[in-house]
């Protein structure tokens, strides 16, 4: 037996990779490697105050910093017996919408689209799709602005804190945000059309399970204390361990998750498949127009799901601004009612369900368990990739075609930015 090592075409930077091992037409192994260095965040927060915990855990990821912050706040506040007033809830929803828009616009326009349209990056894409890129950047900028206004700065803003906010944005700024959001909707709608027009390969389609937070109010939403599963079950988030069943995988610094022994998918596509029917307004119309049964079997529709969610989020912004402004007085930060307790915070990060589970003892974190979305989709990522590679190999596809298809699948899951660009490591074992 001879081993042929096919070096990756592009330099591998950063922290993710794809490894494919094959012998003839037989696939030995298909791996999505998470090579991100280990940070042991769960051990670092032990012995810290809740405020310190929030400041640490949000730094797990710069894209979903606010989802981490939000999940942590919810988990910690449950543990500490804190009920935040409605103004705080509304402002938190607004910051969360900002993050969804920021993350989705980055992923859809700057990372995924260049792939489909055949460009190495968005700047190169700008030559032909100038106005689209400009508007996409404007949308992303707006989203960053929402995050800055609500959280204090673009990334790792400390303003959302345990029990409330340090400072509330001024009315004029919020009204301006609502106005800008309205103005962005036509572009977002156009983007849905553009993405819906791209052909989605179907050869690797397969069944799976979808999971997301149940908003609990018959609406579409990004947060809830229960988890809705596509098999019809609705489970309390406190039972998250029975849903996720984290296990170690030697090629991944992120743990893999299985639901009832099977892979599952989280993220925009899971939310749309589970709750899409509940969308109303323009987003609801677009969902009804574009959704079809293939969404249940093909992760690449996640790109379209994200585009529709952007329309939903933009429509949601002005309602949320109204909800914030409904309360003229800025509530002071709510103090804990107890110093020990347990709590699980679950929110929808842009790329899926995020859990922060805590036990607080005498005011300090005694135990923490954080389950990130990418880890939950990992088994599905590998499942779909494997199927695609098997079929492509049997069709005699060449390395670069396989590499591109694998990348498209991985990237569709929007796993995490540094993992989602150009990172295929391809090894082929061929008989001599």
């Amino acid at each position: 037996m001879r081993e042929i090592l096919v070096e990756p075409l592009a330099r591998v930077e950063g922290d993710g990779g794809i490894t494919i091992r094959a012998e003839g037409k037989k696939v030995h192994e298909v791996r999505f490697d998470i090579l991100e260095g280990t940070r042991l965040v769960e051990t670092l927060v032990i012995g810290k105050t809740p405020e310190e915990d929030v400041s640490i855990t949000c730094r797990i990821c710069a894209i979903c910093t606010l989802s981490h912050r939000y999940a942590a706040l919810r988990g910690l506040e449950k543990a500490l017996g804190i009920e935040v007033p409605p103004k705080v809830q509304a402002l938190r929803s607004l910051m969360h919408l900002g993050e969804l828009l920021e993350s989705h616009s980055l992923h859809v326009f700057l990372l995924a689209l260049p792939d489909f349209l055949g460009y190495p990056n968005a700047v190169a894409m700008a030559e032909k799709y100038g106005p689209e890129v400009v508007q996409a950047l404007a949308l992303k900028k707006f989203a960053n602005h929402v995050m800055t206004v609500t959280s204090g700065r673009m990334i790792h803003g400390e303003n959302p804190t345990v029990g409330g906010f340090g400072k509330y944005p001024e009315k004029d700024i919020l009204l301006d945000i609502a106005r800008q959001a309205q103005a962005m909707i036509p572009f977002a709608e156009k983007a849905v059309g553009l993405i819906a027009g791209l052909s989605v390969p179907d050869y690797f389609e397969d069944d799976t399970v979808f999971m997301c937070c149940e908003p609990g109010d018959d609406g579409f939403g990004l947060m809830g204390d229960r988890i809705r599963i596509s098999d019809g079950k609705v489970v309390d988030a406190k039972e998250y361990r029975t849903l996720t069943n984290e296990k170690f995988s030697p090629h991944s610094a992120a743990k893999h998750c299985l639901y009832q022994g099977k892979p599952y998918t989280v993220g925009a596509i899971a939310r749309c498949n589970n709750l899409g029917e509940r969308m109303n307004g323009l987003a609801g119309k677009l969902f009804k127009k574009h959704w079809n049964k293939r969404w249940l079997r093909n992760p690449v529709f996640n790109n379209l799901a994200q585009a529709i969610e952007m329309v939903w989020a933009l429509e949601q912004v002005s309602k949320t601004v109204d909800a914030v402004l409904q309360y003229p007085d800025d509530p002071p930060i709510v103090k804990p009612t107890r110093q020990s307790g347990e709590g699980v915070g679950s929110v929808e990060a842009p790329r899926g369900t995020l859990y922060h589970a805590y036990r607080i003892q005498d005011g300090l974190v005694a135990e923490a368990n954080l389950i990130i979305p990418t880890g939950q989709s990992l088994e599905d990522i590998e499942k779909y990739m494997r199927k695609a590679v098997e079929i492509l190999l049997s069709q005699g596809a060449d390395d670069s075609a396989i590499r591109l298809q694998a990348e498209i699948i991985v990237r569709a899951f929007d796993p995490c930015i540094s993992c989602s660009t150009h990172m295929v490591r391809f090894e082929r074992h061929d008989p001599r």
Partner: protein, 259 residues
């Protein structure tokens, strides 16, 4: 002033990618940025990256595996100037808050058990300068966009950038905030390098120290002051360690003997 465009690379190691994202999020500057130099490598923003000799390498993230050690050494070898951006690269970031203490192995095991990785050999996370020489540091978690572009502009003109010699408090006063220290809160402002425009105190929240120590931090005075306000040494030290990583080890050693 026409000059040859420099060859530049941006690299991310262990961290949240926030510093590279700060650049990507600077929509207004992005096109000028790409036009100002030959961006040979920027994994977060583009895929046609090249492994070429560089005038300046910007490194984000801390080093947390043997493979990363080799990679950063390789980058150093082909870069005339190496600039650490962000607290992870400068001081190790949050993952280096326990630096200098025992127990990394134990903590590793408590997360991953007896398992080992096939593709990486993890080590305790450390800042870049633990492995290669660093020519310039731009701290922040994440970095401040204005500061990055100012530093970047200087560097591509081949001059040493100017960094604030004052702590967060100065910026806090410029912004006319109420001093949280005087209100009895554990604010690290006096010890932390300016550059963030005092965002946290401007939101009525104490500075948690995410820009790392200011060069001349008067650590003993701040400890004395906070003790007077009722905080324990352990609380203050813990807070300071969260973001300042390797940056405060020496001061803490001077103050308390051990770290």
């Amino acid at each position: 002033m026409e000059r040859k465009k420099l060859d530049i690379g941006l690299y991310g190691f262990t961290g949240c990618n926030g510093d590279q994202l700060v650049i990507i999020h600077s929509e207004d500057k992005l096109l000028d940025f790409f036009a100002s130099a030959n961006i040979r490598s920027f994994s977060l923003a583009k895929s046609d990256n090249e492994q070429t000799p560089l005038d300046i390498a910007f490194i984000e993230g801390s080093i947390s595996s043997q493979e990363q050690v080799e990679h950063v050494q390789e980058i150093r070898q082909r870069s005339a100037l190496l600039v650490a951006i962000g607290n992870c690269a400068c001081y190790g970031g949050i993952q280096a808050m326990e630096l200098g203490r025992e127990g990394w192995d134990r903590r590793f095991q408590s997360v991953y058990g007896e398992n080992f990785f096939e593709v990486r050999t993890p080590i305790e996370s450390k800042p870049i300068d633990a492995f290669v020489a660093v020519d310039f540091r731009l701290p922040g978690c994440p970095i401040d966009a204005d500061q990055f572009f100012a530093v970047y502009s200087s560097l591509i003109r081949k001059t040493k950038p100017q960094m604030p010699d004052y702590p967060v408090c100065a910026e806090c006063r410029w912004r006319e905030n109420e001093c949280l220290l005087l209100k009895g809160q554990l604010c690290l402002g006096p010890l932390i390098a300016g550059g963030c425009k005092a965002v946290c105190p401007s939101h009525n929240l104490p500075c948690v120290g995410c820009f790392g120590p200011v060069e001349e931090a008067n650590v003993s005075s701040e400890f004395a002051l906070l003790k007077e306000k009722g905080f324990t040494v352990e609380e203050i030290r813990r807070r300071l360690r969260i973001h300042s990583g390797s940056g405060v080890l020496k001061s803490l050693k001077n103050l308390f003997g051990e770290v």
